[in-house]
């Protein structure tokens, strides 16, 4: 609309077509009609002004209904703390398993008659393989000495006419995460070699532990997904209740020309705050849990001569939890607020 009525020239209403205006008037192609000298913010300043306002209103709303807000934050915190706790459990289990013993290996007991040079050749052959990380050869004398060190038996008893022990090669395969299938394949292959008397896969217990951990991991993913849905619903419900409490404000704002985005913004920021505070709550819960459980874990570990203690959350995990909380809050509030406000009837 380019033309403006100027019938009553004395009116304070006058058009100012050169004025840099906000999205408003550009969109409707209506020139902003202002008093002379009155200027609106340019679009960037307007953007910041309106978001600043929305954050202010969001804070007011979150703190206005304190008990409801605290409950929402606690529910979100508890929901987030369950998968977070599982994550900490898994992390600690893996860490402890590393501390208890060194890497998994395959022990090859060679045929008795083999000579030193022959063993050297076999060692070279193994080292060259791509799927093997390192190899350690234990010759019979060394093995006997070691055995005597560890044994409580009378050394005289061990004075045998000749050393009965074979050459032993400890093979450390390259580990593909916690996947043990390649270990088993290697063991089967070595067992088929004529010079190998017995190929023994060590640390079966570790394999079992990793299997348990992998079950924990997949259940933790499932639980996380379910609880994330729960958090979305909680935030959606809170925003719905909040919008009912502020329905008069929504109505009046829309009547004086507020866009749906303008009216939704404080709700969306509220959701973001709930998510953030819920995340903090989850972090605090896990922190306390680690502190509470640590003494008993230490007692257990001391039985295994292990001086480790539980590991809590590190900075990157804390930021991930907060980011997840905030995105859930943002998304839940955005969907709900948009839904309510576009359907809001004046």
């Amino acid at each position: 609309m380019k033309r403006h009525h100027r019938r009553r020239g004395a009116t304070p209403i006058s058009s100012n077509p050169k004025q840099k205006t906000d999205e408003t008037d550009q969109n409707t192609r209506q020139k902003s009609v202002n008093q002379k000298g009155v200027q609106r913010h340019n679009s960037l300043a307007l953007y910041f002004q309106q978001h600043h306002q929305a954050i202010k209103y969001a804070l007011q709303r979150v703190f206005h209904s304190k008990s409801a807000s605290i409950m929402t934050i606690l529910v979100i915190g508890i929901a987030l703390s369950l998968p977070l706790g599982l994550h900490v459990l898994i992390k600690n289990t893996l860490m402890l398993s590393k501390g208890v013993e060194d890497r998994p290996s395959i022990t090859l007991f060679l045929m008795e008659t083999k000579t030193n040079t022959w063993v050297k050749r076999l060692e070279n052959r193994l080292v060259k393989r791509e799927d093997i990380d390192s190899v350690k050869v234990i010759d019979p004398e060394q093995a006997l000495a070691e055995f005597q060190d560890y044994s409580d038996l009378n050394p005289d008893f061990l004075k045998l006419p000749h050393n009965p022990l074979p050459y032993v090669i400890e093979v450390y395969p390259k580990l593909d995460q916690q996947d043990f299938s390649n270990m088993e394949k290697l063991q089967a292959e070595f067992q088929g070699w004529p010079e190998v008397h017995l190929a023994q896969l060590d640390m079966l217990w570790l394999q079992r532990l990793y299997a348990i951990v992998s079950i924990l991991k997949s259940s933790s993913n499932l639980i996380s997904a379910l609880l994330a849905m729960g958090v979305l619903l909680i935030i959606g419900n809170t925003i719905r209740l909040m919008s009912q409490a502020y329905s008069e404000e929504i109505r009046i704002s829309k009547l004086v020309g507020a866009t749906n985005a303008y009216v939704s913004r404080p709700f969306i920021y509220s959701g973001l705050m709930y998510g953030f505070l819920g995340g903090i709550c989850a972090i605090v819960i896990i922190g306390f849990a680690v502190i509470l459980i640590n003494p008993s874990v230490q007692r257990l570990l001391s039985l295994y001569n292990n001086e480790r203690s539980l590991i809590g959350l590190n900075m990157s995990e804390i930021s991930i939890v907060l980011a997840i909380g905030m995105s859930l809050g943002l998304f839940g509030a955005w969907v709900t607020a948009r839904n309510i406000i576009t359907k809001f009837s004046l």
């Binding site: 033309r3 019938r7 009553r8 004395a10 209403i13 408003t24 009609v33 008093q35 307007l46 020309g257």
Partner: protein, 225 residues
């Protein structure tokens, strides 16, 4: 002859329940005109105002406000359109958790004015309704007439081209009603097109302006006084 600010051309409004609120409404208002819209409750007064403010859309016919055919305004453009219209209700509909100043400033905040301009304009609007000394009060501390005047200040603070008032004096005693009408008259004198829906016969008699009468969804013009 200037172009009309409000122009209704064979406008019909039929609600989903089958009720026909407006049957065939044709009228025009020029810039700076003040008119009463009278009729019994349920005659369609509120419906007509809602169509102008785009709270509702007509079932037929066309409405042109300030040279813009409302059928060409899509839903997302409605907020921007509404900033050119001031709406006043029977109940002042103020936000009780904000003070008078903040209530009046709401449309300007939404439109994105700078704070110094907001301050100036809100003061000017409050001055027009003689409430400059009450800007820090909360609406609940004000009398009914004062609350209504805050509502009027909020409606005019954006300097709208059109003011729509739906039973603005419905809850007020006759003296206060005259006060409110005098305020409308002042705006009207500076070129704002004002349409006041009312069934207050006394008030209409006291102010000799154009009268539009709605009866069962049909609009007729009362003879000049």
């Amino acid at each position: 002859m200037s172009e009309p600010v409000i122009h209704f051309d064979h406008v019909r409004k039929r609600y989903q329940n089958g009720h026909e609120a407006l049957r065939d409404v044709c009228f025009s208002m020029e810039r700076g005109e003040l008119a009463f819209l009278t009729g019994h409750s349920g005659a369609g007064k509120s419906t007509l105002l809602k169509l102008i403010a785009m709270i509702d859309r007509p079932s037929g016919g066309s409405i042109i406000i300030e040279n813009r055919n409302l059928s060409g305004i899509s839903n997302w453009q409605i907020p921007y359109f509404r900033r050119r219209i001031g709406i006043i209700f029977q109940n002042p509909t103020l936000l009780n958790d904000r003070n008078v100043f903040e209530n009046v400033a709401l449309p300007l905040l939404i439109s994105g004015y700078k704070s110094e301009d907001i301050r100036r304009r809100v003061r000017a609007a409050l001055d027009q309704v003689s409430l400059l000394d009450k800007e820090k009060s909360t609406p609940l501390a004000l009398s009914g007439g004062e609350q209504q005047r805050v509502g009027i200040a909020r409606a005019i603070v954006n300097k709208p081209a059109v003011i729509l008032a739906d039973e603005p004096t419905g809850n007020l005693d006759p003296e206060l009603s005259v006060d409110i009408m005098n305020i409308f008259r002042r705006f009207n004198q500076v070129g704002v097109t004002t349409l006041v829906a009312t069934h207050d016969v006394e008030l209409v008699r006291e102010f000799p302006y154009r009268r539009l009468i709605l009866r069962d969804g049909i609009l007729s013009e009362a003879p000049d006084l």
